[in-house]
Assembly symmetry: C2
Homo-oligomer: 704 residues x 2
Amino acid sequence: MDRQLETFFNPQGVAVIGASSNPAKLSYGVVHNLKEHGYPGPIYPVNPGAGEILRLKAYPSIAEVPDPIELAVIMVGAAQVAETLEACGRRGLKNVIVISGGFKEAGPDGAELERSLPTIAARYHMRLIGPNCVGVMDTHTPLDTTFITAMPVPGAIGFASHSGAVCGGTIDWAIDVGLGFSRIASLGNQVDVDLADGLRMLYADPHTRVISLYAEGLPDGRRFVEAAAEVYRQKPVVVLKAGRTSAGTRAVASHTGALAGAGRAYQAACHRAGVIVVNSLQEQNDVAAALALQPLPQGPRIVLLTNAGGPAALSADALDEFGMKMADLTPQTQDRLRAVTPRGALVGNPVDMLGGPQAEMYTKTLRVLLQDPGVDMILALFVPQAITPVDDVAAAIVLGAKDAPKPVAACLVGGHSIANAVRRLHAGGVPVYTDPNRAARALAGLWEYAQLRTRPDLTPTPVANVNREQARRLLAAAWEAKGRHFLDAETAAQVAAAYGIRVPRSGLAQTADQAVALAESFGYPVVVKLIAADVVHKADVGGIALNLGHADAMRAAFARMVGFHAGALSRPGSAAMVQQMAPAGQEVILGMQRDPQFGPLLMFGLGGLYVEVLRDVSFRLAPLNEHDAETLIAETAAGKILKGVRGQPPGDLAAVVDTLRRVGQLVSDFPCLAELDLNPLIVGPLGQGAWAVDARMAVDQPPR
Amino acid sequence: MDRQLETFFNPQGVAVIGASSNPAKLSYGVVHNLKEHGYPGPIYPVNPGAGEILRLKAYPSIAEVPDPIELAVIMVGAAQVAETLEACGRRGLKNVIVISGGFKEAGPDGAELERSLPTIAARYHMRLIGPNCVGVMDTHTPLDTTFITAMPVPGAIGFASHSGAVCGGTIDWAIDVGLGFSRIASLGNQVDVDLADGLRMLYADPHTRVISLYAEGLPDGRRFVEAAAEVYRQKPVVVLKAGRTSAGTRAVASHTGALAGAGRAYQAACHRAGVIVVNSLQEQNDVAAALALQPLPQGPRIVLLTNAGGPAALSADALDEFGMKMADLTPQTQDRLRAVTPRGALVGNPVDMLGGPQAEMYTKTLRVLLQDPGVDMILALFVPQAITPVDDVAAAIVLGAKDAPKPVAACLVGGHSIANAVRRLHAGGVPVYTDPNRAARALAGLWEYAQLRTRPDLTPTPVANVNREQARRLLAAAWEAKGRHFLDAETAAQVAAAYGIRVPRSGLAQTADQAVALAESFGYPVVVKLIAADVVHKADVGGIALNLGHADAMRAAFARMVGFHAGALSRPGSAAMVQQMAPAGQEVILGMQRDPQFGPLLMFGLGGLYVEVLRDVSFRLAPLNEHDAETLIAETAAGKILKGVRGQPPGDLAAVVDTLRRVGQLVSDFPCLAELDLNPLIVGPLGQGAWAVDARMAVDQPPR
């Protein structure tokens, strides 16, 4: 861990530059919070006009602040921030938080002001959080550099957020429900410390068990993916990203482009990163709470304990959607349950204690259920009724769950009457939800993480036997000839072949005689395709003839094609491509689209004419290792068909894995490839390979 | 409206039988609530031992209670309920609520006690709510027959619930957030008044704008569908059903059975019923609140008004998933916004007023946005920050939304600090959510309902030209011969043909000569299929030969088939079926599975070998009219392919619609048909029809 980043949360001395003595000002609030929320080190208000703020001596400038001083919080006008930062650098500070707003978020003038900040910070080897943020909290130090009125209780959730407002809302809610946090960092405009750093700061913190991140865009997405991939096996990373739908959409001409809509690259990135994806603020806190407070389950089998059937059924519905299983209780467990539940209680799963169980029954049943070897986790539901005090039930659940080696969560349905019980459960280490579906999502998150941390390694491995130089030459020549364009089919096939992707042998012909000669050199059967710059989807316009078995068939097809497209072959760049015919097999598509944040994105799925109608596709970041390629294939219907369905012979899956890896390597080696479609890739029977019979590739820059 | 049901909410006089004078008892609570929550009529505690309860005269029995008396609330032990009900009947009561538990929910003994209740009620022409419920509330009468400690403020949401506990939780929450309800009815075990009645009671209530229902099973699902379909155009119906996954799953042998998993029938039923489906308690209340408080939008175009970019982006993401559109603001609107928002505010969509707008800016911007003709609805988001008091923002939003002809909702992020603002917004008629995704779901619900209430009629229409008698004869003969079984292919084809479903002509042959004779009578090409009781999926085992063009091919295929299945044709019931070959076309599947709650369920989608892998299927209740059949087809990839994709000729969609309607009619006319698969149904080009080349049907009872 970077010791310098750690100083943000454990500084020896904090200066607040721009501190006001006016309690209505936010900068007064920061001094107040540092002092009142228990920061143990010296606090130095800096304000040229004030003698004392909150009975702390104020200094006219940062230069005059004495040692020890390790962190400055800057709250001056945007126009003064640069010079203040310089002053901090000269004073020897290495950690600065700029709370002041009025930068990029406020328009072009602010963006101009912002530009100098990272340069100044770098010059003095300072790390800078902000600008336009609310600062950081560490509940264990304790340290609170924000102006937010209260601090959550100490806990195990570390939260880093692009948005200060979201920090404020989260803190407000956390205090309400008594949920503990370890560190909270508002990162603002992230001119220096970004979300990947935020992740590392939370990873390094021994009090943080869960890393919870809120992002509004991930400009350097790959850096974030790599940072998360390094830590996710040690600590769970829960990520919420706003703005999936506003992601830049550019005009696309390929199938992959059409299918790789908003969110697909982000999904693939999260898969590679090993993070738990959540889609709302509520879901983020719900999942983080479960991960912070409870151990991980050994499996997906859950038992529901309830005093009302309906809410348990709602949980069961939601758990099923998340892929969880209802545990089967042993007869011994059921016998033991009968002894500790009311008469008439149902001792299957859900365990339904009916309307008014005594509170202590929750403790007893939890203890029984925890001992059943078929139970991996427990959700205790309670709907307050007139008879049983909800606070007593909360206490009973806490007692029953105490030191349990399996996760236990609670669900209470209601409003004001459960508020105190919610806080009591959180204080006792039991995550609690006010809706059965929310509880289900949170528990599913525990199992999701248990699986993530033990999944096979996804680190990409290089592919041997690729002719990079050959591909580079082809791409360079294409770029020089035409600049940004879709390569002609022959060149695309040659590029693919250079990377060991199996393509049918082929050649170009201008006349029927040339076509026949080529076909005879490859051996029949062959395919003939019209190559013309203005014809993109050849099958739509009669420009393909398949399975030609002899010279006469070839001549007839040739004549027909020329007839359909009068003059086609006389235009420059046009020709007929004669090609070996691939074996019969399943048509799949393998494509690549380059994402501005996450780089090359591979697509795999059912191919052929209906690819955009069937939409049977799944995505991964490129490059990828064999395991990742296998799971990509297995996620699709195409993958299931290739394994052999209903008596059909299986396809050559190993060849598909190999082709995916080669394409992944190709597009990673050559950022100049903007889009790529192999459609169809024909997958022959076992041992007969995967044939890229139609390769489309676009270049948009010269190869490196 | 049934005047007798209305009496539950507006009775002249209420007796509480089993009322206790002990404040710790629930029956004391009922008397207390009737009195303290303002019921204006006479209240009669009935208790043989008590002289007075809460200063109300107590009567020793219901017989002695004077007029006026229209409703009895029974809270005696389960064993005494039947005789108490008799006594109510003798006293001339027509409306009774049985709160007492200990019936079906408590096991077999309770179920036995419950059995007599509907009989007694019917004998005295009484309507009975319960047993095992918490009674009813009407906030406008006002009337509160429950023991729940508080009553929500008067409002427009009517809620009927299977579960009393869920009523309690909902009420607790409603009071917390200040959301008004009109009527709340806890229906319990529903021995008489069921959820369809509950729906009608809420529909009839002039104070109820939204019908919100919570179900734990819908035993008579069709009755519920019909009740909802009658009312949904006048009042929105929001339905949450617990226990989708625990729905009885029985062994199935057909594709349709395998694909019509839990929840599909319920989905199809909700589509027919015109209800808005929600999946959690929270979502139910969120959607109901929007429908209760706001007008319906004219379109899906929404504008977001915010003081923080992130939460707005989260809303936008969720709105996009719900099919909503971000509104484009006119230049005039943008100019007007600049005049009423802080310097630097972004006046696109979202309208971002940045960190600390003045509260009244919410009023001004709302007024500007409401006038933009491109805006259909508005979501105002506010994340509390130190500067702007959240209560003032709430007041400003209420003022800006007042009397608006377009829906306005609010989203406040936080916990305790927003609690008062939430109540203020609800009191001012603005639905408010504490998570951007929840707000998005609720607003999407408004547009969903606006579309539902104006959608084309889905009432099934009968199909002409079916030979019902012929089908009945075939099914009766099949049942008599073999009881519960899958019909042989020939019989299934004849049943289909009787209903005007196009099937290739066919006949059975035991020898190659017979097969050739049949083929010559139909004309080549033909198909030959092995028919054997022990072979279900013929294609898996080489039991089909296609496209036989002449007698030699037929003889060769026949010999091969007999070779694969040595002795196959000598077993009883086995034969070779020779069949006309359908035209080339798209293979689709059309199936039916009978759901225990909702009856016959039709399935349509991509057919052929991979139907269970592709899972491109959608469902409807049978029978169905043309419009409903068309939308069913359009929901699938198969439907898109049939419309003509990428230069392919369109298929005969009208023939598919016709076949769907004929199958729907067939399975509705004959409940003895338990399962049906037409796979594939081959859809020829326009005008060439849809051919059911392989029909499978199971009977499980004699035809009526």
